[in-house]
C-alpha cells in the first residue's frame, strides 16, 4: 500500500515527507553545515566551490546560487534547513517567506500586519486552479 498523502491537496504547500527527504538529503545536509561560522565564511567566499563538496544535483546547486527557495523546496529542501542559507545571507524568516510568495517584502509584511493570508480560497488545490493558480 502506498503512503497516504492527503496533504497533496493543499495548494502552494510542500509537506516534507520521506519522498522529499530522499530527494533533498544532501541539499539539506549542506544547509546544516552552515551552522558553523567557519563554513559560512568558506561558503560566502566561493559558493560554487563549496557546493561542489556536496553530492547535490546540478539543479539543486543552481537553485542555491539563485536563492530560489521555491525551487529548493521542490528539489527536496526543507524550510528549517534552508533557513541556514538565509541566515548566512543575514535574512529573517519573514524575508525568506516573502521571497516565496511573489510579493515584495513590504507587501508581505503589510499582509501579515493586516492579519495574514486568509485560509479562504487557499484550502484546496482546486481553489487555485479556478483562478489561474496564483495566490
Amino acid at each position: 500500500m502506498a503512503i497516504d498523502k492527503p496533504y497533496l491537496d493543499v495548494p502552494g504547500t510542500t509537506v516534507f515527507d520521506a519522498e522529499q527527504s530522499r530527494r533533498g538529503y544532501w541539499l539539506n545536509q549542506f544547509c546544516m553545515s552552515l551552522m558553523k561560522a567557519e563554513n559560512r565564511e568558506r561558503f560566502k567566499s566561493d559558493e560554487a566551490a563549496y557546493l561542489d563538496e556536496w553530492a547535490m544535483t546540478p539543479e539543486q546547486k543552481q537553485a542555491v546560487l539563485d536563492r530560489d527557495m521555491n525551487r529548493m523546496i521542490s528539489l527536496g529542501g526543507n524550510i528549517y534547513f534552508l533557513a541556514k542559507i538565509g541566515a548566512t545571507d543575514g535574512l529573517s524568516f519573514q524575508q525568506m517567506a516573502a521571497s516565496m510568495t511573489g510579493v515584495s517584502e513590504e507587501e508581505y509584511r503589510d499582509m501579515m500586519v493586516a492579519g495574514g493570508r486568509s485560509p479562504d480560497g487557499n484550502r484546496y488545490v482546486s481553489e487555485w486552479q479556478d483562478d489561474g493558480g496564483a495566490p
Binding site: V10, G12, T13, F16, A37, M69, V113, G115, R117
Partner: protein, 284 residues
C-alpha cells in the same frame, strides 16, 4: 511525598521574538502588544517558580539533521548549550538540566510503552529558548532547571495528536512516581497558525486558533483526534507544531481523574513575523 505537575504553559516560539528581545526592539510599536501579553505571565512565573520545567518543543534542524530523526527525545544532560542556528547563538543563559528527574521520566515513560530517545548531548534552539525568554525576560540565569523534550514535527511522519495526549498522561504518571517533593511545570510550545514555505506562506487562521485554544482547555481528548491534514490545511504547514501542546495538556490532572484546570491566562496576537502567537497558562 512525590513530585507533582502544578501547571502547564503554552506558547508559540517564533524566532523573531527572540531576535526582537536580543536586539532591544521590545518597545517598538510592532512588538509592544506581543510582549505586553506576557507581562502577567512573567509575574506569575516569578511567583510560581517551579523546581523544574519539562519543556516540550521541536528542534528546527539544529540538534537533529537528516542523519537521524527521533520522534520523541528527552534531554538527560546536566547542561545544554544554546545553538548557533546560522545567525550566531542567542545571547541567553545556558540551559541547566535535571538529569535525575529526566532519567526517571525516561525510565517510567519507556516502561509505559513510549519509545523515547535519550539524549545526553545536544544544543537547544529557539524552540526552547524563546518560550523561556517570553516567560522570564532577560535574566542572567534561567529560574530553574529545564528538561528539554523534543518532538519531531518537521520530517513526516510526525506523531498524532492522540499519541501526544497519551504521552502527556504517561509523563504525569512518571512525575508522580518520582520520590522527591518537587513542583514541576510542563510547557507545550510552537504554533499557532503559520506557514513559512511556498506560495501559501503567511497563512493565518484566527478562527482555527481560537477554537483550538477553546478545545485545548475544555475538550482535549476530542481535540486529540484532529488529523494532521486539518492542521496543514487550516493552520498552515508549520501549524502542525500545535500537536505538541497536547503533550503538556495530557499531563494535567483532569485527564487522570482530577478536576479541570483553572485558566490563569489567555492571550492571542497576530502577527509575530509570519506567525499567530497563542499563549495559555493552566493550573491544576
Amino acid at each position: 511525598m512525590s513530585a507533582r505537575i502544578t501547571a502547564s504553559v503554552y506558547t508559540s516560539h517564533v524566532p523573531a521574538i527572540g531576535a526582537a528581545l536580543d536586539l532591544g526592539k521590545t518597545d517598538e510599536p510592532y512588538w509592544r502588544p506581543l510582549f505586553a501579553g506576557y507581562e502577567d505571565s512573567k509575574a506569575w512565573l516569578a511567583d510560581n517558580t517551579p523546581d523544574a520545567i519539562i519543556l516540550v518543543y521541536n528542534d528546527h534542524a539544529t540538534a537533529f539533521s537528516l542523519e537521524m530523526i527521533p520522534t520523541f527525545a528527552i534531554g538527560t544532560a546536566a547542561t545544554f548549550d544554546v545553538a548557533d542556528e546560522g545567525w550566531g547563538p542567542r545571547p541567553v543563559p545556558q540551559v541547566i538540566g535535571q538529569p535525575m528527574l529526566a532519567s526517571h521520566i525516561a525510565q517510567s515513560v519507556i516502561q509505559q510503552d513510549f519509545d523515547l530517545t535519550i539524549v545526553n548531548e545536544m544544543d537547544v534552539d529557539h524552540g526552547l529558548t524563546v518560550p523561556l525568554s517570553l516567560m522570564c525576560g532577560q535574566p542572567d540565569a534561567w529560574p530553574c532547571p529545564i528538561i528539554p523534550f523534543a518532538v519531531n514535527v518537521v520530517h513526516y511522519p510526525v506523531p498524532s495528536g492522540r499519541r501526544c495526549l497519551n504521552l502527556g498522561q504517561a509523563i504525569r504518571a512518571a512525575v508522580e512516581s518520582y520520590d522527591e517533593d518537587l513542583n514541576i511545570q510542563i510547557w507545550g510550545t510552537g504554533g499557532m497558525s503559520h506557514q513559512l514555505q511556498g506560495p501559501r506562506a503567511g497563512l493565518i487562521n484566527s478562527d482555527f486558533d481560537q477554537a483550538f485554544l477553546d478545545d485545548l482547555i475544555a475538550s482535549p481528548s476530542e481535540l486529540a483526534d484532529k488529523p494532521h491534514v486539518d492542521y496543514v490545511r487550516e493552520a498552515g504547514s508549520e501549524g502542525i507544531e500545535l500537536v505538541m501542546w497536547l503533550i503538556a495538556r495530557g499531563a494535567m490532572a483532569d485527564l487522570a481523574g482530577g478536576r479541570p484546570p483553572t485558566v490563569r491566562h489567555r492571550f492571542y496576537h497576530v502577527p509575530a513575523s509570519n506567525t499567530a502567537v497563542g499563549h495559555l497558562i493552566l493550573e491544576n
